[in-house]
Symmetry: C2
Subunit: 157 residues, 2 copies
DNA sequence: TATTGTTATACTCTATAACTATA
DNA sequence: TATAGTTATAGAGTATAACAATA
């Protein structure tokens, strides 16, 4: 598909990141379809777990809009993997829980995901793998050039 | 925004790639807006150059659908950065050329892009930077686990 | 008056299908 | 019959605004 040489794409950081993200996402979607969920559904379902979080909190953790959360949960509920439980203390909010079937799916999905990671990273020598992951965390993590801005203390502003 | 620790996100390769791609894309879009083009427009315009490629060929090189190419070129033409020239040999096809203004914009954009790359990768020690880029090329390049499949010789099939 | 979750709506990006004009 | 480019359209994904129920 790509007609450029390895040397050419090495200088195109945007392409390297975009392609990595897109290709891994596609692989993951294919692999997870075996257990009948999408990567986004796994993200939500695995964070919901036993059920401590409200829809709003879950949206905050999974970095998605509350309206996106609604449609995601609609699908998870329809396929019997999650349920919305009314909060006993606040009748506005709903706690999200993975069902028993949902917990089983998460467990199987986790195995699949780890296998894909191993398969992808397996082409790299152990030392390079460590450097790659550490470098990405450095770039993307708090304070990094691609991470969210650290909330400064008001004194520095 | 992200409430997880560095140790947690280190195990989430999908997140690392997605966030890298998304955050760099956002930074790049902001930086390039200074010269009035989007990353996608830069991609097309820089590959068009003096004008050797048809719309279809340009779409193949830039990895985008011909209908996406149409709207991208419509915008580039409207802002005076590219033009469609009828091919002298085939009246169906159109050669895409960057205008003089387009060439100037590409040149300025290239400086901006390199500055962003330097700024982002600058937080890494030189050795780690090399390992990171080499590793990504290995993963994404031809034959890698996230790359396009090499067309095998018919003998091996 | 503010908040949770829902619905309706719109916007972007991208792709599919149908069309035209050529070959 | 096939191809280059265009148009129309539809599908994801995501976001904004208005709304109902509740605080």
């Amino acid at each position: 598909m790509d007609t450029r040489s390895d040397e050419e794409i090495r200088g195109d950081l945007s392409y390297l990141f975009d392609k990595s993200s897109q290709a891994l996402g596609a692989r993951m979607a294919t692999a997870l379809s075996e257990v009948g969920i999408t990567p986004r559904e796994y993200c939500v379902l695995s964070k919901a777990g036993a059920g401590e979080l409200t829809q709003r909190e879950l949206g905050a953790v999974a970095l998605m809009d509350k309206t996106t959360m609604v449609v995601t949960l609609d699908r998870l509920e329809k396929s019997g993997l999650a349920r919305r439980v009314p909060s006993p203390t606040d009748r506005r909010v709903r706690i999200v829980q993975a069902t028993d079937a949902g917990v089983r799916v998460i467990r199987r999905a986790k195995v699949i995901i780890d296998a894909v990671y191993d398969d992808v990273l397996g082409v790299l020598p152990e030392a390079d793998r460590t450097t790659l992951l550490d470098a990405l965390v450095r770039l993307v993590g708090a304070g990094g050039p691609l991470g969210s801005v650290e909330p400064r203390s008001s004194a520095t502003v």
